[in-house]
């Protein structure tokens, strides 16, 4: 039997309420973590800083080779596809600007964020869920260790710093990959290529990358932490938490990306 209008309204209401509850809980989590950061003394900061370094190593350094490889490939493929079309029009000089438009503005930050979601957000959610079920979070709190300071803050800082570095490396690798193909396959010299890239870059391109790293990285870390710490009783909740993390992170990253594109370039 088809659901009645009333039932559809109820379902919609429940979904909206759940969505708002999750945003409220996330805002609370972010607020508590920022407050923990602001009121942290130097000795605690040293302990937390060790965790930040570990997070940067896992999210940033360990992912570097993968990000560079994907960046090189994307740059190369973009140039192969674009050059065929552009050369027919005698517009080979537009290779650089096209790489800036496609890779640096949009795909670079987005793909770096997707790789971080795949590698790190899943790991953060699974690790925190496992810690919660193993009573590690309760034990930390009992001993006077604020989980927001010790668990969440390092993961958020680590994700933002790493994502910024990965976005920069991804962009550089994509430009290098694009240039290598343009040079080897089509004989494009370095000078015109760089001139094209420089000409297409705007001031907005320079500050939007750190802004995206901040927004994407923060959103990824806090969504992963939220869904990880939301488990209650069973190990079977861990894969569910990971799945919810991935879906939520994709959603929020695409929404932020769309909003920024509309606000800055629209």
């Amino acid at each position: 039997m088809a659901p009645t209008l009333l039932e559809l309204s109820r379902r919609t209401g429940r979904a909206v309420r759940h969505f708002l509850e999750v945003r409220g809980d996330l805002a609370h989590l972010v607020g508590r973590t920022l407050r923990g950061w602001m009121f942290m003394d130097l000795r605690r900061f040293r302990v937390v800083n060790e965790q930040v370094r570990l997070q940067i190593k896992f999210t940033g350094i360990d992912a570097l080779a993968l990000v560079v490889a994907v960046g090189l490939g994307l740059g190369a493929v973009t140039v192969i596809q674009a050059f065929t079309q552009l050369s027919a029009l005698g517009a080979e000089d537009y290779i650089g600007p096209i790489l800036v438009l496609i890779v640096i503005r949009e795909l670079g930050p987005l793909l770096a964020a997707i790789l971080v979601i795949g590698r790190s957000a899943t790991a953060i959610a699974a690790e925190l869920a496992s810690m919660k079920l193993n009573d590690e979070v309760d034990a930390l709190e009992a001993f006077g260790i604020d989980p927001h300071q010790y668990l969440l803050l390092p993961r958020a800082i680590g994700a933002v710093v790493s994502l910024f570095a990965l976005m920069a490396c991804f962009d550089a690798a994509a430009l290098a990959g694009g240039f290598l193909v343009a040079r080897i396959r089509f004989g494009l010299p370095l000078g015109p290529f760089l001139d094209g890239v420089r000409g297409a870059l705007t001031h907005a391109d320079l500050w939007i990358t750190p802004l995206k790293a901040f927004l994407f990285g923060g959103a990824i870390a806090f969504h992963a932490a939220y869904y990880g710490l939301a488990v209650q009783r069973s190990q079977t909740e861990i894969p569910q938490a990971v799945t919810r993390t991935v879906v939520a992170c994709f959603g929020v990253v695409f929404v932020f990306d769309g909003l920024l594109a509309a606000l800055v370039y629209g």
Binding site: S130, E136, D138, A139, F143
Partner: protein
């Protein structure tokens, strides 16, 4: 130090004081033995006393600066850190320098015979060593309120004298309050007069 429990009701238990609402007051130089079958709410009560479990009703009142040490029946040690790091973390977070924290942690581990496994992570330890590690973390932290969940479970007979000596030192320390939760009250016959049975059907007059 004074810990006041008023009308405390926790999620889980369907009978006994924690289902009806528990009232209890205890303080320094007192040891409270909490007994009850599995699922009666012993661990949850310890977590409520530690401030990490939120009650359905009622409250636990204690001084905010109280140092609390919690050794859970299972788990609780950070799996991504070595045993030594597990012991030093609470001390360093309270502001102790790393060298002093390591010294204190090594003393605690030596007292419980854990010296050789300090650099291992909990997943590489036996259940017995993890249990001793949890107790060593409390010992190193030197808390005012000691909360222990089945402290003698999973131990070898050769460990018992060492652990009993530590328990006795805690329960006779005039600055400490100790709460021991167990299914086996007979293992703690020597513990103080304050007892709470979470399986109790009727309220004691």
């Amino acid at each position: 130090m004074r810990i006041v429990i008023e009308g405390l009701r926790l999620e889980g238990p369907t009978r006994g004081p924690l289902a009806r609402g528990l009232d209890l007051t205890f303080g320094a130089e007192q040891a409270l033995l909490v007994t009850g079958s599995s699922g009666s709410g012993k661990t949850r009560l310890l977590k409520a006393l530690a401030g990490t479990a939120h009650p359905l009703a009622g409250r636990v009142e204690r001084e905010s600066h109280l140092r609390v040490g919690l050794a859970l029946g299972r788990g609780g040690l950070l799996m991504n850190s070595t045993l030594l790091q597990n012991l030093t973390l609470p001390l360093r977070f309270q502001g102790m320098k790393r060298e002093a924290a390591v010294e204190r942690a090594e003393e605690a581990m030596a007292q419980l015979g854990l010296g050789p496994v300090g650099e291992l992570r909990p997943h590489a330890l036996s259940d017995r060593q993890r249990k001793l590690g949890s107790l060593a973390r409390v010992l190193a932290f030197d808390p005012d309120l000691v909360l222990l969940d089945e402290p003698l479970e999973a131990l070898d007979p050769r460990d018992l004298p060492k652990v009993r000596a530590v328990l006795e030192a805690w329960t006779t320390d005039p600055a400490k309050a100790v709460v021991v939760a167990t299914e086996r009250a007979e293992d703690h016959a020597d513990l103080g007069a304050l007892r709470l049975d979470l399986d109790e059907d009727e309220e004691t007059p």
